[in-house]
Amino acid sequence: MVVTTSDKIYDVIIVGSGAGGGMAAYILTQKKLKVLLLEAGRHYDPETETAMFNTPEQAPLRGVSTPDKNFGFYDATVDGGWEVPNEPYVSAPGSEFKWWRPRMLGGRTNHWGRYSFRYGPYDFKPYSRDGLGFDWPVSYDEIAPWYDKVERLIGVTGRAEGLENVPDSPPGCHLPPPAMRPHEAFLARGFKAMDIPVAATRAAILTQPHNGRPACLWATPCGHGCSIGANFQSPTVLLPVARATGNLVTRPNSLVYQVDMDRHGKASGVSFVDRITGEHHSARGKAVILSAGACESARILLNSKQGGLGNSSGLVGRYLMDTVGSSTAGYFPALEKLPRRNDDGMSVGHIYVPWWGLNKQKELGFARGYHIEIFGGQRMPSMSLMGDYTDRCATPFGAGLRQEMRQKYGAICSFDGRGEMIPNENSYCEIDPEVKDKWGIPVLRFHWKWSEHETRQASHMRKTFLELIDRLGGTPFEGLDTDGEKAISVGGEIIHEVGTARMGHSAKDSVVNSYGQSWDIKNLFIMDGGVMPSSPDKNPTETILALTWRNATYLADQARKGAL
């Protein structure tokens, strides 16, 4: 194998350009460090590559999901999805795991859901609270100032709610949330009748101009990308600032498979294959940050050395977690009474339901909570949405069918539960002994098992949705089974993998310290969801950004002191 090595020695090499890698580049380049950013996918420019106002009619098959574009034609995922050409992964017998990977600059920040939450005080100390899982080596109070910085930079909506374990942000952090849509006001009444408090949405979408970026124009799905930069994407918010410092070199199509070591036991750089030419290269750096996503970063460590690099704890790849998911859709005749209006707004619900059962866990029979995301109203018709309405119409054909469609449009709402998984020994990734990718690099094999804490939670989600639909005079039509085993999502399906290189207090109980620094190799850092010791119900992106801001700041300080 011919490996081309450059003489250039960077201060820091970052692997991956999503939430973690993008934020690390943003911080380190501004601190005048010379950074090489290696991205496995191609260059991507949301400004020119996002067909924001295109309608389904302009796409093949009305833009529906296909094996080529799993979330639809316009979804901002390039060359990826549940499968990436030439880059397989396997699930162990008896396990099912789905691994979503894009191959593009900015990674999953291009299509992510934009719900943006702080973890709460209990989320950092789950073991202390109920004896399950692992505590973080940091507390909410230590991370709070970094959440403040992230929210001030990227722009996150929210309102002070005064709810336990749902931290309110200091004044000036949150942007004003948008008004409720009519169907959301309706659903809020139902939740209120069930004694379930509803909160204003927390989303990384601008409701007013912010740091030179324009406000949301209240149309077009965020998941298609935003050419005006009104939501958070690494390529529109972080990377332009890093680039402007003159300290950033970005190399796309560079699939890193190994951290290289010098004879003093320190990282000297990385080796990667160019996905276009197939040529192998190595790059040299004084420090290496893995931000390839929890599973890909684990794969790099495990492929770097027999038994895994930085793996004296044996924990690399272990305690893999995803968010618990379950959904139900219902049809509400009461909503037929509303007149026509433009309900586009943000892609996310303008309200959401934070976990309300903190002190009821014993009676509930599962240990941790979930939040509810809501979709509905008079939204842009798609094949799937209109198909659902068609199936609700009693008139088989004729003018009456058209009338019924007009009458029903806007009356379907759906509910997504998003819950906390407790880390377990049966859920992990490792290197498959046989399967290799196109370039001969061994691939990941996933093992997955939900515990009863998760399946009971999924069952509770469904029962909650069904009760709400019933109280509001609706009819559920999808997601009806309340058997937790059947109600729960497939591992990986919610695309919140975390935990494969967890942080902790010592080299024995963790892969990295609270700064994401490898216990074994002090100039090697992990800055992605892999470092999380637990997986709160609150979506992980904002926490990845906050941890990375803090940890990249630490790295820069250490580098300046010559301590790496």
Binding site: E49, F53, T55, P56, A59, P60, L61, R62, S65, T66, P67, D68, G72, F73, Y74, D79, G80, P85, P178, A179, M180, R181, P182, G190, A193, W218, A219, A334, K337, L338, P339, R340, R341, N342, D343, D344, G345, M346, Q378, R379, M380, P381, S382, M383, S384, L385, M386, G387, D388, Y389, T390, P396, F397, G398, L401, R402, M405, R406, Y409, R471
Partner: protein, 208 residues
């Protein structure tokens, strides 16, 4: 809600068998597309989303099938003074694009739709002595009514779903159903007092 519509595989196979038996009986290839081999290539994992390009895959429907589909589509959602008929919006072409696509969901629909269209002529011949396209309006409505009454008749249910969903997810369909979004706004409007009053009234009636 998933974009995938689950289809009973056995039913699909039954339809395929019925269609093949019928076409053999008449001594012609299935739906004029008997030699069609699915293209292994769709639009790929990195299509140019800005440029509206011709669909990559070959179309498989015959002129006769397109005509049948147009008639059926216009029976599902007849046009009137203010609303165009599906055939005027290219819905039959869209159904062709759909069932011709090299993806599993669409390939499953191929058997259902082409098998059903084939059955339709057969059934029409039995009942009225001629194929569906030359029936009178009243006879076609009679056929539709009969199909609608058949329990678990997958062809009718699936074609109805595809036609209606394709119609209302078109730009003209947006207008017809009253979708007024996909336009840039300076601010997101809160519900009007009238809307809030409706919600209040409905909630009170429901006891919440």
């Amino acid at each position: 809600m998933s974009d995938l519509v689950r289809i009973d595989r056995r039913t699909t196979l039954k339809w395929l068998a019925a269609a093949l038996a019928f076409s053999t009986h008449h001594g012609k290839s299935l739906a004029g597309g008997g030699t069609f081999m699915p293209s292994p290539q769709g639009y790929g994992t990195d299509p140019d989303i800005n440029t509206v390009k011709p669909i990559e895959w070959d179309r498989i429907m015959s002129e006769h099938e397109l005509k049948q589909t147009a008639l059926l589509a216009d029976l599902f959602l007849p046009g009137d003074a203010t609303s165009p008929a599906p055939s005027a919006l290219g819905i039959p072409d869209f159904i062709d694009e759909w069932i011709s696509a090299p993806y599993p969901e669409q390939q499953s629909d191929r058997g259902i739709v082409q098998g059903g269209l084939s059955w339709l002529d057969q059934e029409s011949a039995k009942k009225f002595g001629q194929d569906f396209t030359v029936l009178s309006d009243g006879q076609r409505v009679e056929m539709m009514t009969a199909m609608a009454a058949m329990p678990d008749f997958l062809f009718f249910k699936r074609l109805r779903n595809l036609v209606v969903a394709a119609y209302f997810s078109s730009d003209a369909g947006f207008k017809d159903i009253g979708y007024s979004g996909n336009v840039a706004l300076d601010a997101f409007p809160a519900p009007t007092d009238d809307m809030l009053a409706i919600i209040d009234r409905e909630c009170k009636a429901l006891g919440v």
